[in-house]
Symmetry: C3
Subunit: 251 residues, 3 copies
């Protein structure tokens, strides 16, 4: 099984990657983890992968393409861990996911001379993922003994960052939930008091609140509405919408 994670949205780029995979891995199963990563956003991609890969069955090949450096000499890699395989650009995207697993082998992917300079998803990563799913991990390229590029998502105690804004408008942080009734929230110049509710239905309307998200971290939410869109209007001492990567203190 191959799992795709990209910032290609609803474009044909995803369909074309599947075409290339099925050309080689004919009886395969391809699952879309997520394609609506904000364009080029490594933090968001890293968060989604590291929190969700372990729900997939053992042996899965994750093919991850968020790749602002496509066409430059950045490396493309394949990594084998005890339970999974990962394919993607060596730009930090895989780091948070790999650091908690035992790595068995790393390969540097061959980049064909006629590969597009803008679409390695099709010409490099899809081909490598298909080969690995067919049992040919050793054939994707030479062994790589160098360190993998690190991208740590900052987190220390009650300080962290915004890691994801979901389609309901929930603003997701990487700060772990602690049992408290109310919190002081600081995002850049904005400071806000927010109550905690254990589920959406218990919260009052028209009032930003904190909830424990499905990855056990704190999320800023708004009942039957979109916290991300409404926050700037409620807290005008900020400058427009909050953004992925922004520092947050929740105390």
């Amino acid at each position: 099984m191959i799992v795709l994670l990209t910032d290609f949205g609803h474009s044909e780029y995803v369909g074309v990657m599947k075409a290339v995979i099925f050309n080689c891995y004919k009886t395969g199963n391809i699952v879309d983890l997520c394609h609506n990563i904000s364009p080029q956003n490594l933090i968001e991609a890293s968060w989604i992968l590291s929190n969700n890969y372990h729900y997939f069955p053992e042996g899965v090949v994750f093919c991850c393409v968020v790749d602002p450096g496509v066409g430059t000499p950045r490396k493309a890699i394949a990594v084998r861990t005890v339970k999974y395989y990962f394919v993607g650009p060596d730009n930090g995207l895989l780091w948070e996911t790999l650091k908690e697993q035992r790595i068995i082998a790393v390969r540097t992917l061959n980049i064909p001379k006629d590969a597009s300079q803008t679409f390695h998803g099709r010409d490099v990563f899809a081909i490598a993922a298909a080969k690995i799913a067919m049992g040919r991990f050793e054939m994707v390229g030479a062994e790589n003994c160098e360190d993998i590029v690190k991208l740590e998502l900052f987190h220390s105690g009650n300080e962290g960052i915004i890691v994801r804004i979901d389609m309901f408008g929930n603003i997701i942080t990487n700060i772990p939930f602690q049992e408290k009734d109310s919190y002081h929230v600081k995002i850049g110049p904005r400071e806000m008091e927010m109550k905690f509710y254990s589920n959406y239905a218990s919260a009052p309307e028209n009032q930003l609140f904190l909830i424990e998200g499905s990855n056990k971290t704190l999320e800023i939410s708004l009942k039957n509405d979109n916290a991300h869109k409404v926050l700037p209007a409620l807290h005008q001492n900020g400058t427009g919408p909050v953004q992925i990567g922004q520092r947050v203190i929740i105390s």
Copy 2:
């Protein structure tokens, strides 16, 4: 085969549900019916499910997650009918679909103690759907002899509601088509005369018209344009865009 219907849009939440399903139902087939239900909109979800479930093959398990009450004591249920299985929150979403079928059994889903309070799609519904697809309907929880929550989509003669706004901007009602050349349409304070055309190409541009939609009800449409976006500008005695659930009279 498991069919998914959610309001999760293009988020990773759909991919994670598939991960959980494939962990159990390894050789399964998962089909996306629709994920762009307006957030928490039970009317829209109910309309789409009740009009489309019968196109799927016998034996399919529908896993439906539009769940504003997640984390509250609302029940989660699995229903077996003569031809299909349905899994979802007991909040009315399933009612219009179930009322036209013979129900054989209903079970109340077990909710694990460590289930997230915000994502039963992953921790409750995906697991139940996978078990049912594996032939273990009886193992999802205890028998449920209480009535299922009802949500009837209002319709009486030429009065009904807006049930869906599709991605072309067609405003879909639940009022059955009748053969007439022109209609009087009333939506809230707005009153409009509209002609009927049997296909898009026959209609003139820049003029809202009625057409028989693919579920045999009346839709408000605009040739080569988006009726939903344009309607407020054409009929200013309204208050912004029309909304799902709003009353409509077409006579």
Copy 3:
């Protein structure tokens, strides 16, 4: 394998087509090539199909539904070429793809009397695609000896058209890449000088540039930003955003 290409976006219309297909072609594999074609845009659909069909394995059935003439007497066709099958309305969508292949047979699809006048994707094309995938090409309708409707995407030397705007905001033309450091670009009343970069990372920020896209034609791009959204602000002698189908000269 059946591949879907439509302008249905994220609506349930795609899921319903899959339901109809699986009712007949039970063990089938359905792949989404792309559903976010701009509504009714035959140029964009034609470009995406003609540039990408050849990545799919031999024998694939392409089911293509961008169909502004649905419900009119326009024909619906199935085409067998040496390597593939194509199903869709006979409105030009298939022309650019078919003209480079050897056509073996063409059939006119039967349109059932009770087919919806607005959704042949479900009632005509999905059924035909499933039959063909089951090996019954001859059963979809009578032989068609007439010419297929032509829609050529204009291109002559350094003149062409905008054929696609992708989700990163890249403005894709059908003008082939030539090795040059800088170009003069003319789109309607707008005239601009643009440099060429071989990859995104080499380009400076805040400056529109040209790049060779993954189909070997010139694209207008903007590093870490959306060229399509920004172009009108940078070049105000135009009239709003550029559009698919617009003439372009790049010299």
